[in-house]
């Protein structure tokens, strides 16, 4: 597949939040302001990219030759958890200001399904290394895009008169439904 097409389809057409429902928990939790949306988005792009490439190497260099494919879930989640811990320590030591703004999101990323999903998806789709790299940037970029769009909508929503029962998250899900409807029209693009 053409790499550019792969990137666009990973980012927009098969957007993980609206078409696959992956990464919903941080999506609902962090999308309350633009600043935290950008911070979380950048952290996710970085972690997804590095964790996917590491898991890709681990799978084809160690697991596949030893016929240990069934261990991939355990190995990948370990790689992700260890990597997140490592990034946290590294940022804490070298850039305290960045740690202050990103620190609270980092532990959340371990349980972000998007990271594990991309790592597993690269293997299931049998992507080459180059395609893996493109996919692992495209998918979290779509996540960040959604997070930013959504946070601005929610900021506007704060002043609106929403029925009592729908206040907070339920109305956010209604908005997500309308956005999913809009994005579903992109489906035939590629």
């Amino acid at each position: 597949m053409n790499l550019f097409t792969l990137f666009i389809s990973a980012m927009l057409i098969n957007n993980i939040i609206l078409s696959k429902f992956i990464g919903m928990c941080p999506f609902m939790g962090v999308s309350t302001s633009m600043d935290s949306a950008v911070g979380m988005g950048l952290a996710v792009i970085f972690v997804v990219f590095c964790a996917s490439v590491l898991s890709y190497g681990l799978y084809y260099a160690i697991l596949a030759p030893l016929h240990l494919e069934y261990m991939k879930l355990i190995c990948f989640i370990l790689v992700i958890a260890a990597f997140v811990q490592f990034v946290e320590l590294f940022i804490k030591k070298n850039s305290p200001s960045l740690y202050k703004s990103l620190g609270i999101y980092l532990p959340l990323i371990t349980t972000n399904c998007a990271v594990l999903y991309v790592a597993l998806d690269n293997i299931t789709q049998e992507y080459t290394l180059l395609e893996t790299i493109v996919n692992s940037i495209g998918v979290p970029a779509g996540f960040m895009l959604m997070l930013c769009i959504f946070s601005t909508i929610r900021e506007r929503l704060r002043g609106n008169d929403v029925p009592e029962a729908f206040q907070g998250n339920p109305i956010a899900f209604i908005i997500a439904a309308i956005m999913a409807l809009a994005f579903s029209s992109l489906a035939g693009l590629v």
């Binding site: 919903m24 879930l73 355990i74 989640i77 371990t110 594990l116 339920p170 899900f173 209604i174 999913a180």
Partner: protein
């Protein structure tokens, strides 16, 4: 919520008010993705309940041995091992369910409910209460996704049907909405979000009602 208050409420009220999916917004990825029919919901619910109960047992039995610094990686490896086992069992005995649930079986690992309960309950309590907690939370999760899939299947296909995952034989199938009047978008992403929003709003309205009653009872 204080112990005394919790005892006063019925089990049904507590399952709704402290619901992990609609009350706390945990584990919503799978609740949105696989709830197109009740077969998938029951299968997913049972799988999550089993993993949750077993992980609670294991985490609670090693709670005094786990170093505090690395407790999250330890719990995650325990959960991943259990999910791999459950996934293999599902693949071997109910291949149709395995293909319907797809990647979401693997993603049980990052279901926030499981790690959340390990961290908040099983790591501090003995084995007995942890088993009970796992079963209650699992049932509550199963009920929530069952409710989602119930509405989505009826509105989306007009039918309510259940089949045996081991043999693929149909157990029952009733048409509730005449042909041509069903709303296919309830099977799509849009319908998933709308159904979730309405059920979450219903739970939050119920919660507000319960709190109001409690307040008036206190006065």
């Amino acid at each position: 919520m204080s112990e005394k208050k919790a005892k006063k409420q019925s089990l049904f009220t507590r399952l709704l008010v402290e619901n992990p999916v609609f009350g706390l917004y945990l584990g919503i990825c799978s609740a949105l993705a696989i709830t197109t029919n009740i077969n998938n919901a029951i299968g997913m619910g049972i799988a999550v309940t089993i993993v949750l109960t077993l992980s609670n047992i294991l985490v609670s039995s090693i709670r005094n041995l786990t170093p505090a610094d690395i407790h999250i990686p330890v719990y995650i490896v325990i959960i991943a091992t259990l999910v791999t086992i459950v996934g293999m069992v599902i693949q071997a005995y109910t291949p149709s369910l395995y293909s319907a649930l797809g990647a979401f079986i693997d993603l049980i690992v990052v279901n926030c409910i499981i790690l959340g309960r390990a961290e908040a309950f099983a790591s501090m309590n003995p084995i007995g209460p942890s088993i009970l907690d796992g079963l209650t939370m699992g049932c509550s999760y199963t009920m929530s996704i069952l409710a989602m899939s119930f509405f989505r299947q009826i509105l989306g296909t007009g039918m309510l049907s259940l089949s045996n995952p081991f043999t693929n034989a149909e157990i029952f199938s009733i048409r509730l909405i005449p042909e041509g009047f069903e709303l296919p978008f309830f099977k799509e992403q849009f319908g998933a979000f709308i159904t979730f929003a309405c059920l979450a709003a219903a739970v939050s309205a119920f919660k507000a009602n319960v709190e109001k009653k409690e307040k008036s009872a206190e006065l």
